[in-house]
Structures are given as structure tokens and as C-alpha cells.
Amino acid sequence: MHASSAEHLSEYGSAVVEFDDVTKVYDDGTVGLENATTNIRRGEFVFLVGPTGCGKSTFIRVLMKEFEATRGHIFIAGRDITRLKPDRVPFLRRNIGAVFQDFKLLPNRTVYDNVAYSLLVTGASRSEIREKVPHILRLVGLSTKLHNYPDQLSGGEQQRVSVARAFVNHPPLLICDEPTGNLDPETSLGIMQLIYRINRTGTTVIVATHDQGMVDRMRRRVIELRDGHIVRDEQAAGYTSEFSAVDAQ
């Protein structure tokens, strides 16, 4: 294992995600991320912000090992994923829930089947699926729409399905890339409250977003990127009343 990771672990407690001087240069020479070093601890809620093209999605995609980092090391729960063998990558991803701006739902399958599908393709048994799917759909508030197809749902409802799919296995890490990018402010708030609730169960959450209003409102840790560099990493203190209200619900 990498020498410095043990240090960081002891320094920060249990780091779930650790970037150690990570650089990603795309094939065409574009720098997506440069010398990024940071630590995210268990149970944290972290916003990833910055102007378009600053490297937020790159950060998330190297973390999901969609492609390799050019330089540096990334640790998840203390394991160097840059050294992971390709055939182990699927098992890494089973521990990371992912939510995207465009929902990535299968249009010709119902809400129920969309969530069941992700369990099925990772080898879950039928009884497991029958037990987990209705439960998670109730949690995200969609128990009345089990048999609707995605195009029969509003954008917010579709994003709830995708959150349900990401969280159905209760992964320790939830990553969201612009989860509210396609949604109006009111609906966005609902989705953020849902993600926040998931965070409150102990799940570490990383949210990349453009929504400055939401970031200000929620007062969480913010990592700001600019041209691939981490230019700000601030821990906001205290809860807003709005989200305390969510807690109380």
C-alpha cells in the first residue's frame, strides 16, 4: 500500500476516499484534473463545485474507474484503486452508488424493473430483489408508480428512481454528478433532501453541482475546482434550518 495513505488515515480518521496527487490528461492532451490531493471521511457530505469544464466529472469518473488516472493514486477505504485489476473493477462499482444528470434509466422497463435490473445484473437472487426493490421505492416516495415507464414520470420522479437504483444495495459511497442539473429549483430541493437523508444513514456522499444556491443553503464541505486544480476546500459549520427541518421530518 501507498506509504502516505496510512499517515492520512491516522491523521483524518477513516478516509473513505483519498486522492493523492491525481492528474488526468485525456488522450487529446486536455488536462481534466491536475495534482488533486484531498481526503473525504466516512459519513461526509461533500460538494464539488466550479465552472463548466473545471474537472468535476473527471474527478468522479476517475473515482469510478471509468478510465485510469494518468498520475497519482486514488484510495477507496484504504485500497489503491489505480492498481486494481480490470476484472475487479465491477466489484468496486458495486460499492459506489452513482446518480447522473441524465438519470440513465432504461426507457423500455418499468420503475420496478429499472431498479430490479441493477440488482439482477450484479447477481442478486429473485427473493432478494422482491424484498429490496419495493422497500427502496417506498423510501424515495415512488411506491405508487412501480409499474410506470420512465417517460410517464416527471424529471424529479425519474431522478428518484435513479437514486433508488444507486442506493438499493446500501453502498458506503454515493456519487452524484449534477443530480439536479435538469430539474427546476423546487424539484431539485426534493432530490437534495433525499440525498441528504441517505447521507444521514452514514453513507458518504459526493455531489458535483452548478447550483450555487443549493450549496450555500446546505452549508456542507465544498471542494472547488478550477482548470483541473483544487482551489478551495472548506468545511462549512452548522446546519441550515431548512435541512434541520428535513431531519425532523
Partner: protein, 297 residues
């Protein structure tokens, strides 16, 4: 459980992707039919050609008045030629007897007469060397042929005709091989293209599967099954059509014409198995290549 999932996914894509799947199935079928006709036909022509080659002999006809000494000397000469495998003496009586066997009427008109000469039947070690054996026996000057032994009346071989037969069957064989290879390539490409289209049709599923952590093989299986299905279905239909053709056309013909039955050809069952294996091999190659190239996991 997983098998059920793979099958239902494969059927789902086959349905969504039915036109290219059907086209690929048809090409595999046509290729299999062509192979199914081609394999026994080459088998038979190769058999026939080998038979002709095996019959390449040099007949050295002997003068009726040759002395025993001349005959012994000639025989020794022939046997010492390194190109010669065997030398067989055929007496006048034997010549007439074999004529009787082949052409009864002609032999009968001869009555007690026997104009047929005795001969040495020379079998070459290598059919291609027939010419050398003949050259060693005769020399031609000013259009006049002289023989190495006074006992020789004439030397004959059927090289010219057999050469022609061999080169024609060879040409047909190469043309058919070319056609078969072309068809195999075409169907491999078409199966590959079908799989590429289903990868495209299922790109969202593939994306989701990757995202939630399905293993590479889990993602590949439905495509592999689809490819195998196209190959197997094309192969089975082709074999059924060939079986029908065999029973309605070839078999009745071979009863009335001995020609069809004569050469030893491959039996239908081994042929069917060979064809099915080829059809599935073609689709496995096509889909394997495409998955490697277009399904980045």
C-alpha cells in the same frame, strides 16, 4: 437464474434487432448450404481424380516375334528404372480375356483369332513421372520413333487426357474454394455487424450494467448467445434443406445412375455435424471479433 436472464435479454435484442439478425441468419444459411454441396462434391471429384491418377500406367506393347532373351532384357531394364514401381507381364491370352470382360461382343467376333499383343504394364512410382519412363524407352528422330529394345512394338500412356481432367477438376475446385471462403467471410462480417447493431441497440443497458458493477462476462453473454443463435439457426435450417434436397433429388438419381454412388463420399450425419460446427464457428468468430472491437468494458 442467470441463464434465464441471458436468454431473455438475447431474445429481447433479437426481437428489437430482427432485420439484421434475419439477414445474418440467411447468409449463414446460404453459406452452410454451399458448403454442404461443396464438401461432398470436392470429396467426390478428389476421389475420382485420385482414381485417375492411380490408373496412370505405361503400356509397353511387345512384338509377337520377340525372343525370350529380348523380353528378359527389356524387363530387367524396366525394373532397374528408378521411376518404375512395378512391371506386370500381360500375355496375349490375358489381353484377350480382359477384352472379353470389357467388350463381350467385340471379343466374340474375334473367334479364335488373337490380334492383341502381349505387353508389360508399367506402374510409375509417381504418376507425374510417366513421361520420364516413356522417354527412357523411346527416342524420336526426324519424326521416326526408335525403341531401346527390338521387342517393343509400341509405348502408350494416357497422360495427355488425364492431365486435362486433373487440371479441370483442379480449377473447379479452386473456384469453389474461393467462393466458399468469400461466403464464409461475408457471413462472418454480417454476423459481426448484427452483433454491432445489437450492442448499439443495447447501449443503455450496457452503460447501466457497467455503472452498477456487472462483470464483463455478464454483459457479454447475451450477445454471445445471440450470435450462437444466429449461427445455429442458420446452420440447422440449411441442414434441413440439404436433407430434403438429398432425399428428393440426389438419392433417386443415384439409384438410376451408378455414377453418383460410385465414389466414396462423406456420410450425411458427419457432414451435418461438420456444417453445424462451421455455422456456429462462423458466428462465434463474427461476434467474438465484434465484441472485442466494439464492446469496451
Amino acid at each position: 437464474m442467470n441463464f434465464r436472464f441471458f436468454m431473455s435479454e438475447a431474445i429481447r435484442t433479437l426481437r428489437r434487432n430482427s432485420a439484421p439478425s434475419f439477414a445474418a441468419l440467411m447468409t449463414v444459411m446460404i453459406t452452410t448450404i454451399v458448403l454442404g454441396v461443396f464438401i461432398p462434391v470436392t470429396d467426390a471429384t478428389t476421389g475420382a481424380a485420385n482414381e485417375i491418377r492411380g490408373r496412370l500406367l505405361v503400356d509397353v506393347y511387345l512384338k509377337d516375334d520377340a525372343t525370350q532373351a529380348e523380353l528378359t532384357a527389356l524387363r530387367r531394364k524396366l525394373e532397374q528404372n528408378p521411376d518404375v514401381k512395378t512391371v506386370e507381364y500381360i500375355s496375349k491370352d490375358e489381353a484377350k480375356a480382359s477384352l472379353k470382360g470389357a467388350l463381350k461382343d467385340a471379343a466374340e467376333t474375334l473367334g479364335k483369332e488373337n490380334p492383341l499383343p502381349a505387353s508389360y504394364r508399367v506402374t510409375p512410382r509417381d504418376p507425374a513421372e510417366v513421361g520420364k519412363i516413356v522417354d527412357a524407352l523411346e527416342s524420336i528422330e526426324n519424326g521416326k520413333t526408335t525403341y531401346v529394345s527390338p521387342a517393343i512394338d509400341d509405348v502408350k500412356n494416357r497422360e495427355d487426357e488425364t492431365d486435362k481432367i486433373l487440371s479441370i477438376t483442379g480449377g473447379v475446385k479452386y473456384a469453389m474454394w474461393g467462393l466458399a471462403i468469400l461466403l464464409v467471410l461475408t457471413s462472418t462480417l454480417l454476423v459481426g455487424n448484427t452483433i454491432r447493431l445489437s450492442i448499439y441497440a443495447r447501449r443503455r443497458e450496457v452503460e447501466v450494467m457497467r455503472m452498477v458493477g456487472a462483470t464483463a462476462w455478464f454483459i457479454r453473454w447475451p450477445f454471445v448467445i445471440e450470435g450462437v443463435f444466429v449461427g445455429a439457426a442458420g446452420g440447422v435450417i440449411a441442414i434441413l434443406l440439404l436433407l430434403i434436397a438429398k432425399q428428393t433429388i440426389v438419392d433417386p438419381l443415384s439409384e438410376s445412375f451408378a455414377l453418383f454412388a460410385a465414389p466414396e463420399t462423406i456420410g450425411f450425419l458427419p457432414l451435418a455435424i461438420l456444417l453445424l460446427v462451421s455455422a456456429m464457428g462462423i458466428s462465434a468468430a463474427g461476434s467474438g471479433f465484434t465484441l472485442r472491437r466494439f464492446l469496451k468494458l
